[in-house]
């Protein structure tokens, strides 16, 4: 079930129209993952008023570019995004992939400018949360304040794990960790965790995992040969979830480990 099954028109945050109420954070299937996680009732309505549903973005359309002034955080409602930066030599580094319920733009809070660019991998929609208004409400709502910190912490945790993975893990383990993470993230938005339609290209995936593109393909084939997954075009089916967890190193480190972004 897609929590944001239809594209939303841009709505004025101050108007109290019916559609806004229907589309409010209270009814959004993603709210458990998103900022409103620990607030409710009246408070939620206050937050609701500042959240703007943006017009859907098309594939390859940029949500924000590196260097642009920071005004808002964005929550993915549907589709997927990649964030990336480009260095002085023009080399692209893919920093992350963002699925429904996940927040983008947190890295810009410190400098007031976006540190990276965010691009839609397919047709996608986001909720825009103007940061000044969020701060305002958060000052009065300790629950929201706390949730914001948790979200930021989760983000840091994710990035740290990625660094460790890139630094140490064997190639096959990296891919297993990645697929396991995607599977968990799908489960969180109540989708079938065993059918992953990869939104990103092989090139982006290779870049993110720090592997050559041909290595990525070889590893997918290898996991297929091991009976862990089957691959048809961009659809990956997890046939042996236990084995995938094991390959991702979950067993050794216990249930909490892995990429539980």
């Amino acid at each position: 079930m897609d929590p944001a099954e239809s594209p939303l028109p841009r709505v004025d945050s101050r108007s109290l129209d019916l559609r806004l109420l229907q589309r409010s954070c209270a009814t959004c299937g993603l709210s458990q993952l998103c900022l409103p996680a620990s607030i409710g009732g009246e408070d939620l309505t206050r937050l609701d008023r500042v959240v703007q549903a943006k017009r859907p973005l098309e594939r390859e359309q940029t949500l924000y570019g590196a260097g642009q002034p920071f005004h808002s955080l964005y929550v993915v409602r549907s589709g997927a995004f990649k964030t990336y930066s480009v260095d002085n030599e023009g080399e692209t580094q893919v920093l992350g992939f963002h699925l429904p319920g996940e927040i983008m733009g947190l890295d810009a809070i410190a400098s007031g400018r976006h540190e990276c660019s965010a691009e839609a991998l397919d047709r996608a929609s986001v909720c825009e949360v103007p940061f000044d208004k969020l701060e305002e409400i958060a000052r009065e709502l300790p629950g929201l304040q706390q949730q914001l910190l948790r979200v930021i912490s989760r983000e840091i945790q994710h990035d740290q794990r990625h660094l460790v993975m890139i630094g140490r893990k064997l190639a096959l383990e990296r891919l297993a960790i990645f697929l396991h993470s995607l599977s968990q993230r799908l489960e969180r938005v109540r989708r079938d965790p065993h059918v992953i339609v990869l939104p990103m290209s092989r090139r982006d995936l290779a870049n993110y995992l720090g592997l050559a593109i041909e290595t990525v393909s070889r590893l997918f084939s290898r996991l297929g040969e091991l009976g862990v997954i089957s691959v048809e075009r961009k659809t990956v089916r997890i046939l042996d979830p236990a084995k995938l967890r094991e390959l991702a190193g979950e067993v050794r480190r216990g249930r909490i480990a892995g990429d539980s972004r």
Binding site: R202, R203, V231
Partner: protein, 475 residues
């Protein structure tokens, strides 16, 4: 060992179903390609194929359209010339096309199938063929493993000693030789004098050079062909025992193919004789141990095609039946057709247009088609009929999330007369083609062709691979 896909020749049944129909080397078929599909659409689709976690391997087809003299039966995209300077000029453009196409596919994608067709590919000199292969090798990762399928069509009349060893050196491991008929009277009538020894020598050289497979092309229904003389031709072919044999029907359409006007209609065998030619050929070939693969193709039981038929992994694409169906197919040269992702793309057929686009730095794609969901379902059904001689409704439902009987009620109704005539046997949730029906595969496939209403009007089957006559008729 009895083949699990036997074939049965039933003259009366074949005569009844002698209708026009496509050969389904693609679905939708080439006449339905659209002019509003061009380079831009092709590029986007081709680039998208790199995005899969395991991109498909590549199959390359290169069309080499020149011939020194016209074979009168031929209805294909080819240019008759004795000026070999044409080859070098063509290669100049082909090299540009290879570079432009190469930029669209990630360099790690290996080429597991390569086919040079024509025209007459060996109109090009060895040095020119070497130049072509060098261009391909510089741009694409040509597989060097045993499983690769690198083939070239050869006119035995232009094969010199040493050619086949040189071709093997270039990486080719399969050859297809045009024969048509060994009988001299027939050869005169089709303007293709080719002594039997020439063919035998070329085959011997191919085997000497280590080619894994030899295919011989035959045609029945040619002028002055008689059952007794054709039987001798078949004897000669069976003595050579090529791994594969293609047996095409000659379709006389002089109003469409100019060269065919040189053939006197009075010389053509009567329909009943034509059927007899086919029947005796099928008996001779299967009697000698060949498996009937489907459509016009026969292969020895150990050949990969025969094994793929047995295993249910056979595929059909623009190169006919193949064991490499799961490739993105890239076409090069005038009139060539590619099939990448879910689209077909055809190059300009006219040399001036083909050259013009490449000189301007553009890919010469002039027509094509993006398959929609309905096309994809029907293509899958037709593949199943053509390659597995059966259809499992449940498999299509699982794959596409449809209710088969609801979606294809009209089609299933149109199958009923075919079942009554014994072409197919229907089961609870599927059907299989009977041995009698196997020679009428495309009649069965046509039931699922959304454009089959066109069946009666002989559309211009402008296939890209007309190195042989166009067949508008089933028989």
């Amino acid at each position: 060992m009895a083949p699990s896909h036997p074939v049965e020749f039933d003259a009366a049944l074949l005569a009844r179903y002698d209708v026009t129909g496509p050969r389904y080397t693609s679905y939708p078929t080439a006449p339905f390609f659209r002019e509003d599909f061009g380079e831009r659409e092709y590029r986007a689709r081709a680039l998208a194929t790199n995005e899969d976690p395991i991109p498909r391997p590549l199959s390359l087809y290169v069309h080499l359209p020149f011939c020194e003299s016209p074979c009168f039966y031929c209805g294909c995209t080819r240019f008759i010339t004795r000026d070999h300077g044409n080859a070098a000029r063509y290669l100049d453009r082909l090299e540009r096309e290879v570079t432009l196409q190469g930029a669209l596919f990630d360099p790690d994608r290996s080429v597991v199938q390569l086919h040079l067709g024509g025209g007459t590919p060996n109109f090009l000199s060895l040095a020119e063929l070497e130049r072509l292969l060098r261009a391909l090798r510089t741009t694409f990762r040509l597989d060097s493993g045993e499983a690769r399928d690198f083939s070239i069509e050869l006119d035995p009349r232009h094969v010199a000693p040493g050619d086949l060893a040189a071709l093997a050196g270039l990486g080719f491991n399969r050859v297809s030789l045009g024969v048509q008929d060994f009988d001299e009277a027939v050869q005169q009538a089709i303007n293709r004098i080719q002594p039997r020894a020439q063919t035998e020598d070329a085959v011997a050289a191919a085997r000497e050079a280590g080619m894994r497979s030899v295919n011989l092309d035959l045609i029945y229904g040619l002028p002055r062909q008689r059952p007794d003389t054709f039987a001798k031709t078949l004897e000669g072919v069976l003595a050579i025992r090529p791994e594969r044999i293609a047996l095409y029907a000659y379709a006389h359409l002089p109003e469409r193919f100019k060269a065919q006007r040189q053939i006197a209609a009075a010389d053509l065998p009567e329909p009943a004789v034509k059927l007899e030619l086919l029947g005796s050929a099928i008996r001779a070939l299967t009697g000698a141990g060949y498996c009937y693969i489907g459509m016009d193709h026969f292969a020895l039981p150990a050949d990969p095609l025969a094994r793929a038929l047995e295993a249910g992994t056979l595929q059909r694409n623009f190169q006919g039946y193949t064991t490499h169906g799961q490739c993105d197919l890239v076409g090069f040269g005038a009139s060539a057709i590619g099939h990448v992702d879910d689209c077909y793309a055809q190059n300009a057929r006219d040399l001036a247009d083909y050259y013009g686009a490449l000189e301007a730095g553009r890919l010469p794609v002039v027509r094509g088609l993006v398959l929609d969901e309905d096309d994809r379902i029907r293509a899958e059904i037709i593949q199943s009929v053509m390659c597995r001689n059966a259809l499992d409704y449940g498999a299509i439902e699982v794959r596409f999330g449809i209710r088969f009987e609801e979606r294809f009620a009209r089609e299933l109704a149109s199958l009923r007369p075919l079942a009554d005539d014994g072409l197919i046997v229907t089961g609870e949730r599927g059907f299989t083609v009977t041995p009698r029906g196997r020679l009428l595969l495309r009649v069965v496939a046509m039931a699922f062709d959304a454009s089959a209403q066109h069946a009666g009007e002989a559309p211009a089957w402008a296939g890209r691979k007309p190195a042989r006559p166009h067949f508008s008729r089933v028989i």
